[in-house]
């Protein structure tokens, strides 16, 4: 990354779209929303806050956004379609500092199906990088590469590359860290927009994530998935939920039979990265979001016929998969593709762990977490002994829920 040599001295920056594209199909509302998401992309990594000002505000915003053509009173005239697309001014005291200009003669698009046009979100993220003090980067994955690289995906899902984050954090520092800070793989693609429900479809009640009692919890490519009935939430590595509203199970996991409305356990398999969802005495294997093949019985993993699982996780320390039911667990050797002999064993090996946990997962820092009800038990990396202060309430740490004023004592295992 490259720094421009200037930065903002404040942590809350104001912005406003002063002029909108004249010939684009994008509505003003869409443009404002994309700008909001593009700024948020930088904010979540640095703790910077962005506040939109209304047009009647008495003060000028720090970042004034315009769609303009040709020569427009600065040193970077636009040149019609193609060529230069946009620019932004580095932070500073000058009134133009932070201002961001888009060439109004480009065909600005969002989620263009035919690949035509220029993706406004991608360009906005790049330009706001300049408005915050970053120069151009030559890093292959950086959004700060000077050349337009096409759409970058869903604004809700997009995350800056490491190069961009490091550049930004060099200027503004990091947000308080969570244990899930570093994604190890490309995140899963977002689900397609949901099809409209027929008018007579009964709407499903949405569960309250703050109640806990999840059916399954899994770390899938650095994001923690919380499953509850036909819904799930996603916690990003930055520690933010993708949305407080859960997503529908069957709209994301393509091919999962409609009859499966509860996922009892889930985990990402090492070393091939396949994602396994368990329900009843069977499991389904997904490559990314697509189902691979037919459901398989749990006997394939060494469990007795008809047995089910409460929790499954892969332990990085030995690369083996642990399958828990009640007070017992089995161990499966993925490399040898067979169950280890001598199992099941008593779960008491995991000192302090609750029996029949809702699920178990390993965080991005290598700690192992058992979940049950509304609490979690943390086992430091490589340890089979729970932290002395376990269990702790899940909500505030994992699910953006308020801490209970009088925390009811958690059940001791």
């Amino acid at each position: 990354y490259a720094l421009s040599g200037s930065m903002w001295r404040k942590r809350t920056l104001t912005w406003r779209v002063r002029s909108f594209p004249q010939s684009s199909a994008l509505t003003q509302e869409t443009v404002r929303t994309l700008m909001h998401h593009a700024l948020t992309t930088w904010g979540v990594e640095s703790g910077l806050k962005f506040q939109e000002l209304v047009s009647q505000a008495p003060t000028e915003p720090d970042i004034l956004i315009d769609f303009v053509r040709a020569y427009h009173q600065d040193s970077y005239p636009f040149d019609g379609q193609g060529g230069t697309l946009a620019h932004a001014f580095f932070p500073g005291e000058h009134p133009i500092s932070g201002d961001t200009h888009f060439d109004d003669e480009e065909t600005w698009t969002y989620r263009s199906k035919d690949g035509e046009g220029i993706d406004l979100f991608a360009v906005a993220v790049h330009e706001f990088g300049h408005a915050l003090g970053l120069g151009h980067s030559s890093a292959p994955n950086s959004i700060m590469r000077p050349f337009y690289q096409g759409p970058v995906g869903d604004p809700h899902e997009y995350r800056l590359s490491q190069d961009d984050r490091e550049g930004l954090q060099q200027l503004y520092g990091k947000v308080p860290q969570t244990p899930y800070d570093k994604p190890t793989r490309k995140p899963l693609a977002p689900p397609p927009p949901p099809p409209a429900l027929p008018p007579d479809s009964p709407s499903l009640p949405i569960p309250d994530r703050c109640d806990g009692d999840f059916d399954a919890i899994a770390n899938i490519r650095g994001e923690i998935f919380f499953f509850k009935g036909p819904w799930f939430w996603r916690l990003q590595p930055s520690g933010h939920l993708v949305s407080p509203r859960p997503a529908r199970l069957h709209r994301f996991w393509e091919g999962l039979p409609a009859a499966v409305d509860v996922v009892q356990a889930a985990y990402a398999r090492h070393p091939d990265g396949r994602i396994l969802l368990f329900s009843g005495p069977r499991f389904w294997v997904f490559r990314d979001r697509q189902l691979e093949g037919a459901p398989r019985p749990l006997t394939a993993l060494g469990l007795p016929a008809g047995e089910e699982v409460d929790a499954v996780f892969s332990w990085p320390l030995n690369g083996k998969t642990y399958l828990i039911r009640g007070r017992r667990y089995w161990r499966y050797d993925e490399a040898a593709a067979r169950a280890d002999p001598g199992y099941p064993r008593d779960l008491s090996l995991w000192e302090g762990a609750p029996h029949a946990p809702d699920d178990v997962t390993v965080s991005n820092t290598g700690d192992t977490y058992f979940f049950k009800g509304a609490h979690y038990w943390r086992f430091p990396k490589g340890s089979v002994k729970a932290e002395p202060d376990s269990p702790q309430p899940m909500g505030p740490k994992w699910l953006d829920c308020p801490a209970a004023s009088a925390d009811p004592r958690a059940p001791r295992p």
Binding site: S75, T84, L85, E106, V123, G135, H136, S138, P146, Y148
Partner: protein, 91 residues
């Protein structure tokens, strides 16, 4: 063997390299020519930045990259940016 860049390619290339900070802007009072060595070095830096093979010549891949849609700001901050700031202040 790659074809020699045309005079027009060289002219466009020099203009592009100057605009994005790889070559110093010409002094307004002098009809200054860029030396071949400096031009070659500037092309190499640009190629490295863009992830292209560092040939030091305006080959077809380099010319194609120069025609890609992009941000208006220079890649190499320094002289080019200072000149722009000076012009902005004067205006």
């Amino acid at each position: 063997r790659a074809r020699e860049p045309s005079a027009q390619d060289v002219s466009l290339g020099v203009d592009w390299l100057t605009r994005y900070g790889y070559l110093p802007p010409p002094h307004p009072a002098q009809a200054q020519l860029q030396s071949p060595a400096k031009l070659r070095d500037a092309i190499k830096v640009m190629q490295r930045f863009a992830g292209l093979p560092e040939t030091g010549v305006l080959d077809s891949a380099t010319m194609a990259t120069m025609q890609k849609p992009r941000c208006s700001l220079p890649d190499v901050l320094g002289v080019a940016e200072l000149v722009r700031r000076r012009r902005r202040r004067r205006r």
